[in-house]
Symmetry: C2
Subunit: 346 residues, 2 copies
Amino acid sequence: MKNAQTNQNNVPITVALGDGIGPEITRATLKILEAAGARIAPEFIDIGEQVYLAGHSSGIEPSAWESLRRTRVFLKGPITTPSGSGYKSLNVTIRKTLGLYANVRPCVSYAPFVKTQHPAMDLVIIRENEEDLYAGIEHRQTDEVFQCLKLISRPGCEKIVRYAFEYARQQGRKKVTCMVKDNIMKMTDGLFYKVFQEIGAEYPDIEQERYIIDIGSARIATRPEQFDVIVTSNLYGDIISDIAAEMTGSVGLAGSANIGDHVAMFEAIHGSAPDIAGQGIANPSGILLGAVMMLVHIRQADVAEQVHNAWLATIEEGIHTGDLRGEQTLQHVSTAEFADAVVARL
Amino acid sequence: MKNAQTNQNNVPITVALGDGIGPEITRATLKILEAAGARIAPEFIDIGEQVYLAGHSSGIEPSAWESLRRTRVFLKGPITTPSGSGYKSLNVTIRKTLGLYANVRPCVSYAPFVKTQHPAMDLVIIRENEEDLYAGIEHRQTDEVFQCLKLISRPGCEKIVRYAFEYARQQGRKKVTCMVKDNIMKMTDGLFYKVFQEIGAEYPDIEQERYIIDIGSARIATRPEQFDVIVTSNLYGDIISDIAAEMTGSVGLAGSANIGDHVAMFEAIHGSAPDIAGQGIANPSGILLGAVMMLVHIRQADVAEQVHNAWLATIEEGIHTGDLRGEQTLQHVSTAEFADAVVARL
Ligand SMILES: CC(C)[C@H](C(=O)O)[C@@H](O)C(=O)O
Ligand SMILES: CC(C)[C@H](C(=O)O)[C@@H](O)C(=O)O
């Protein structure tokens, strides 16, 4: 991003470096975007641990919302929520406050360059992102009994299911699988599946199937090749996206888009990994691939492709951070060296 | 069970053949138990599809409860709950009515005799079996909004966590892993993990760790060898036990025990598979291994060992039902032929 601040054509985006490994991987990503000539003007906001500890129980300052509402595009490093019941998950707060209803998580094999037992896997999880047990409604009934409310609404189901079918059609994908537990939760998960069938009827060109989440997860874990687009509710999506990402070789490889009607947020699917923070060894690929999705979103598909290709070339040449194993050549590098290697291949 | 009905030393057990593949696999199992000289006197009850359709919305007749309360031991074939919101899951009704709080699900590799990518896996999932979203409390708020209540109680957590640690100690296992999502559900899942820590303090001889369920599931799917005993709440346990079982080679290989203070139920972890019912090709191993756990429970460990060894010998010689793949010799047989092969090796 040559002269980012002064070029009027640059798209303003909000950036949060995050906690733990967040600053390392987010800075590495920004460096690559800059070198690729991304036409962006980053505005930095502080969120996460320091903000929580300064007394904002949601982990975000009021002024940060202003930036997000103005730029409408957010590149977010992973953050740490301090433990203790007084702290609400900022990830959830942001998703709900900004109405980011669709969490899009592609999980793709890069075999043979990244070792995986499932070289043919190429699936996308479309996870509902605002409802379910994530609605944040928990109470203490008595000293001994606690409850959490799982909330499923028809508008919520319609939005996510419609999104999944439109996504499949636009990306030329062939099948959408719905995963629910409607044999037990006949009303809530039953509604999700009912809406899937209703809206699915408008997409006769796309194959449709349903799995109960237990055996569906088991199939993802053993035969991920058989899936294409998967649409599911919030908690199931959380679980199966970690499974699918890890099976491609590392949970550190997956980026995601959180899409709303007005704002979109891009991030890695992994957390802030405090155990390896500050060592400069984290894999920046997750947030980098999130940033690639962001570039497509802000209509810089040319730059997105360039960055993606340079990243692929790096991985294919066996230049990997420590979390990855390839079949062939192999050189384990630091976060910064990995970023430099991507830049050199732009 | 020679002269089962007339021998006063035989232990009365309640048996339900179930729906779908249930009758085939349950009869195959009873045949093997009989040939092994199990000292049992089966009492048959009808449950499932026919009972539902005859107007009992829970899928079980009042008289069947009487048998269960008397024998206190239940060998149960998989059953089919008709779809439609009027029918409650009988599995859940039985578990809750009889207070079967601990669902014990061993998932063990039989490599190289059964093909798996994880030859060293040997884990046991201890799943809480009465609470969580399975409490069966769902409502319709408006035409468009549905809710399901996740219920977690301190006594419920204490019972299952205590069971897991006692199980680990008795079986000589080294580690208990707790899986929760307490970064989001701070009260409910938070309580589960708090109780895990409290009770864990009484078992300093056993290694203890916690995983968030998303990355925990991902690790089961990629590195199951690292787990030993896993204790978790109902829905997570449902999902990860299907994953772990499928990874051993087939979900058809896992049996389970549902343990209460007064009654215990033994079953396969898979369902009634109506798509292959009546073809005589289903794998009876799940319910057979459930029956082996039952024999240990009724203090016939000698017979249990004999049946288990004969089953292992059958599998090791490459005699498999159609759902299994071995590395070496391989003969695909029917349900009945498989049972005969086990009997021949008793
Ligand atoms: C960190 C956590 C709140 C979050 C979630 O549960 O959604 C994460 O696991 C994810 O998948 O983005
Ligand atoms: C059939 C179904 C009600 C049951 C469950 O969800 O518990 C099954 O999946 C299991 O794991 O035993």
